[in-house]
């Protein structure tokens, strides 16, 4: 049977992609940020996932307002990136796993998530930048991928609670797949930032740190927020926390936090990466 080996959440800021393209990882300004991914690389080397389910938000590359799904799941042999309009180099195609995608789709619909299926799907920086961050040598990326897009472009957005439940349904889907594959769930976006309006540049470190803490120890406490609450407290684009909640929903009730780093600012954004493993509760200090 398939095994969910871990959950990772990371920012997907376009300027990170530009820094990677220019080879600035060891530049003084960038090194502390990129160093935050080294523990994740070591973990990925050990965990050896075969498939990455990447939960992200499209920014107007694949989807436009003419047809805007709340949740969309890729079911393609390959996912292409293309020109987004502001100079990010186009990434090489990412291999998919249609058999696994269709299993996930059947399972999600069976669990009453009436998602949109995409047999062709362009993936934007919110997918490609995290892939470059997690598996830096582009030629040796060892995983197949399943993109899951959550709408954060046009209200109404799904609630934190709904995204958390989507994650739970995703875990059910992964763990009911018959093949012996190792799956990592990757969420991308956030943390606090706002690009538009007179509040542009808004960053809320206190709220971010609270969310990071609660995602590990008490995620259900965050499901009481509405998407509008997230806009208020994390900024209009900080609502991308929705993806983090979906990833957390895919994990078991108790998790071990393997790694976390938080860095302000990258471009206009509070950047973060978090790596979780499923764990058992401690009873009298003993892991069951």
């Amino acid at each position: 049977m398939a095994q969910l080996v871990g959950g990772i959440a990371t920012s997907h800021i376009p300027s990170i992609g530009k820094a990677i393209a220019r080879g600035l990882q060891n530049d003084t300004a960038w090194k502390p940020f990129f160093d935050g991914y080294k523990p994740v690389h070591s973990w990925l080397d050990r965990a050896q996932p075969d498939i990455a389910v990447v939960i992200y938000n499209d920014h107007g590359l694949n989807f436009f307002l003419d047809k805007m799904p709340t949740f969309a799941v890729g079911a393609a042999r390959q996912y292409n990136n293309t020109d987004e309009g502001w100079g990010l180099p186009v990434a090489a195609p990412f291999p998919g796993d249609p058999a696994f995608s269709w299993h996930v789709i059947e399972s999600l619909v069976g669990d009453e998530f009436d998602i949109t299926t995409c047999q062709e799907m362009l993936v934007d920086h919110a997918f490609t930048v995290p892939m470059s961050l997690l598996w830096p040598p582009a030629g040796s990326r060892p995983v197949k991928t399943v993109p899951i897009a959550i709408n954060t472009v046009q209200f109404p957005l799904p609630s934190p609670s709904r995204c958390y439940k989507l994650g739970k349904a995703l875990r059910h889907a992964i763990e009911s797949y018959e093949k012996d594959v190792r799956v990592v769930v990757v969420a991308t976006g956030g943390l606090s930032h706002q690009l538009d309006g007179t509040r542009a540049g808004f960053i809320n470190k206190k709220f971010d740190l609270m969310c990071l803490e609660k995602i590990v120890s008490d995620p259900e406490a965050l499901t009481g927020y509405s998407a509008h609450d997230l806009v208020r407290d994390a900024g209009a684009q900080g609502v991308e926390l929705l993806m983090w909640f979906a990833m957390r929903g895919a994990m078991t009730e108790h998790v071990a936090e393997v790694h976390r780093s938080y860095h302000v600012p990258i471009s206009n954004t509070a950047a973060a990466v978090m790596l979780l493993e499923n764990s058992s509760p401690l009873i009298n200090g003993v892991m069951l």
């Binding site: 920014h59 107007g60 003419d66 020109d83 472009v153 007179t198 808004f202 960053i203 684009q237 600012p265």
Partner: protein, 97 residues
């Protein structure tokens, strides 16, 4: 809904040929979309707050801003009526709070 045509035009700027066509002849390019006078004026002013007011969505407007090489710090500074340097300082300060 009021921003649909404006956002649709900005969505077309995923294509380099369309970005070049707009840059060469903004008025001619706008003619292909059913823009309101308010939207056309906001585009002419290159004013992001006006474009938002006219229904523009920042995810699509970013593609339009890219045509002029505007980055997100410049977009932020313009909306807050401060300089790019002041805007960057504000971001750095947010990390220290």
């Amino acid at each position: 809904m009021k921003g649909y045509a404006l956002n649709k035009m900005c969505f077309s700027f995923n294509s380099e040929a369309n970005r070049e066509a707009y840059f060469r002849d903004p008025d001619g390019y706008c003619d292909k979309f059913d823009l309101t006078p308010q939207q056309r004026l906001a585009l002419k002013h290159r004013d992001v707050l006006e474009l938002l007011e006219a229904g523009g969505n920042i995810y699509y407007l970013a593609k339009w801003a890219g045509i002029f090489g505007m980055n997100v710090q410049q977009i932020g500074a313009q909306q807050r009526h401060i300089t790019e340097e002041e805007f960057k300082e504000l971001l750095v300060r947010a990390g220290g709070d």
